[in-house]
């Protein structure tokens, strides 16, 4: 059930037939303005705090308690900055590029299943939609770089396009193997299948895809590395390599325009962490227990509070997994040095793509031989538990 459908339940209470598109827009507003953007902004604060910890500094601590409101102050500052457009820039594309980047990174949040009941748009091609919109970002980066007529920008943009485009292939192959073992592209279905195996007929799933079979375990790391490159994160931050290209593709973007690019980039990290959680780490599923059967028996009047409690628990589990992934991304940033361009291309074309090919075949053969059962299910059968 999508968020819009859930919200349209309000119609029953107020007794007025509000048209459905209002709820569609409301759903988008809730996910983008109340989740993706604040969390993307907050991630900049977390990033600075973690960087400070790794370098034994204090980090931002002036705005609000322990600097918690720093991202808010940064946002206001950038909002009030003068908007400088270089006179050589291609104005139309220059203005259009941030929209493309935002549409790519924030628009794809529609397919993220935060809980069994909360999903922006329950598309039957959810994962395909998220991947397709994800590649808008590379287009936005390239157009923004090209239109600003700056040598640093152009170099960064070309690097960015080549990198994002190359790493899309191992990413696509890793996602393809998930679809091979699951037989569906709907994000909701993909997550539902990853429940803890249950002996009762028609219940339980094959547990998290990452431990479905050995090939999927390797595929998770291929996905993770490729996603790092897709988000231009260290060690793949060649498009903006600040020590060689000033600021890379966004050199000419100042004030709020730069802010939008930075926000879109952090939203991209969160997006890929969300997709990794949903398709590999079981989304809102926890081991040994199915949160869909959580029953605390709380009621208000006639209304049963269980769906609400389940939703809160599921969103909590989902966001906890996402935060762990985001922490690892930031950890890597302060651990590894930047790759050279030729190393970057070698890693993609000579290592990740052949391994991903092999894993795809392996995952398909595993599905065929064991009729779609996972390692956990097979172990359970051998032990006689399932």
């Amino acid at each position: 059930m999508s968020l819009a459908e859930l919200l349209s339940g309000v119609n029953q209470f107020i007794g007025v037939g509000v048209p459905m598109f209002v709820f569609s827009i409301l759903g988008a507003v809730i996910v983008i303005l109340l989740f993706a953007m604040p969390v993307g902004g907050f991630a900049t604060y977390i990033e600075r705090k973690i960087a400070a910890d790794f370098q034994e500094r204090i980090g931002p601590n002036r705005v609000g308690p322990i600097g918690l409101l720093q991202f808010f102050a940064d946002g206001i500052k950038m909002f009030l900055k003068e908007d400088t457009i270089s006179k050589n820039a291609d104005k139309f594309i220059y203005n259009f590029a941030p929209s493309l980047v935002m549409a790519g990174s924030l628009g794809a949040f529609a397919a993220i299943p935060f809980s069994a009941y909360v999903i922006g748009a329950d598309l039957n091609i959810g994962i395909f939609y998220a991947m397709a919109l994800g590649s808008f970002v590379s287009l936005g980066v390239l157009l923004g770089a090209w239109s600003s007529e700056n040598k640093w920008s152009l170099l960064g943009g070309m690097r960015g396009a080549a990198q994002i485009v190359s790493y899309e292939i191992p990413l696509g192959l890793a996602v393809l193997s998930v679809i091979t073992i699951s037989g569906t592209m709907s994000m909701h279905e993909l997550v539902s299948q990853q429940a803890w195996p249950s002996a009762a007929a028609g219940q339980g799933g094959h547990f998290w895809n990452i431990v479905h079979n050995p090939f999927m375990f390797i595929n998770f790391f291929i996905y993770f590395i490729a996603a790092l490159a897709e988000c231009n994160r260290v060690p793949f931050d060649l498009p903006e390599a600040e020590s060689e290209l000033v600021s890379g593709f966004n050199t000419e973007f100042s004030g709020m325009r730069f802010g939008l690019y930075a926000l879109a980039e952090f939203a991209d990290v969160i997006l890929f962490a969300c997709i990794a959680t949903a398709i590999f780490l079981g989304g809102w599923h926890v081991p040994f227990y199915d949160l869909r059967s959580l029953d605390l028996g709380l009621t208000i009047g006639d209304a049963n509070l269980n769906p609400l409690i389940q939703t809160v628990a599921m969103i909590g589990v989902f966001l906890a997994k996402v935060s762990v992934l985001i922490f690892i991304v930031m950890w890597i940033r302060w651990t590894l040095p930047r790759l050279r361009v030729d190393q970057l291309m070698n890693l993609c074309w000579k290592y990740l793509i052949p391994i991903a090919f092999f894993n795809l075949i392996g995952a398909a053969v595993w599905t065929w031989v064991f009729e779609g059962q996972s390692m956990i299910q097979l172990i359970g059968k051998v032990m006689g538990v399932l």
Binding site: S2, S86, K87, N88, S99, A121, V165, G172, F357, G372
Partner: protein, 153 residues
């Protein structure tokens, strides 16, 4: 499903309209003091030299071409492999058909990848050996130099 597509469209529309909305809103608050020097292209404080549209490495073009082939293939395999589990449940030779269809397709591309690997088209830094061989006609001197130059890449 149309409703769900509408929901997804609302997301894309809102995300794409956010930058213009924020920038237009900001134009009521932010200062605007354009100045000749401020509006030049940023080149580390120096006056910009020439146009930025200079020639760049044509490897970028090659990577884009190779990517196109692979990405079309991945996009085509999505629906085929999605049906794989269903095909297994149907039983008989259906699973074999889907499997051979998908992986024959994949196999041809994998052979293509190996070919490009061997010809060096996916090497970012080209081997100095080949170029020297071509220039000097592959004589004995070139062979000796090639050995010492092998690590240039």
């Amino acid at each position: 499903m149309l409703q769900e597509l509408g929901n997804a469209f609302a997301f894309v529309l809102l995300a794409a309209l956010l930058p213009p909305i924020i920038l237009v809103l900001g134009s009521f608050f932010r200062p605007s003091f354009p100045h000749e020097g401020k509006l030049t292209t940023y080149e580390c404080g120096e006056m910009p030299v020439g146009s930025a549209y200079l020639m760049f490495n044509n490897r970028f073009y090659l990577v884009a071409i190779v990517f196109l082939v692979f990405d079309v293939e991945v996009a085509l395999l999505f629906p085929i492999l999605m049906l794989f589990r269903e095909a297994i449940e149907i039983g008989g030779s259906t699973a074999l058909q889907v499997f051979s269809l998908a992986f024959a397709f994949l196999g041809v591309l994998f052979v293509g990848l190996i070919y490009e690997w061997k010809t060096g088209d996916i090497d970012w830094v080209k081997d100095a050996v080949d170029r020297k061989d071509a220039m000097l006609g592959g004589g004995p001197i070139a062979k000796v130099e090639a050995k010492s130059g092998e690590n240039i890449a």
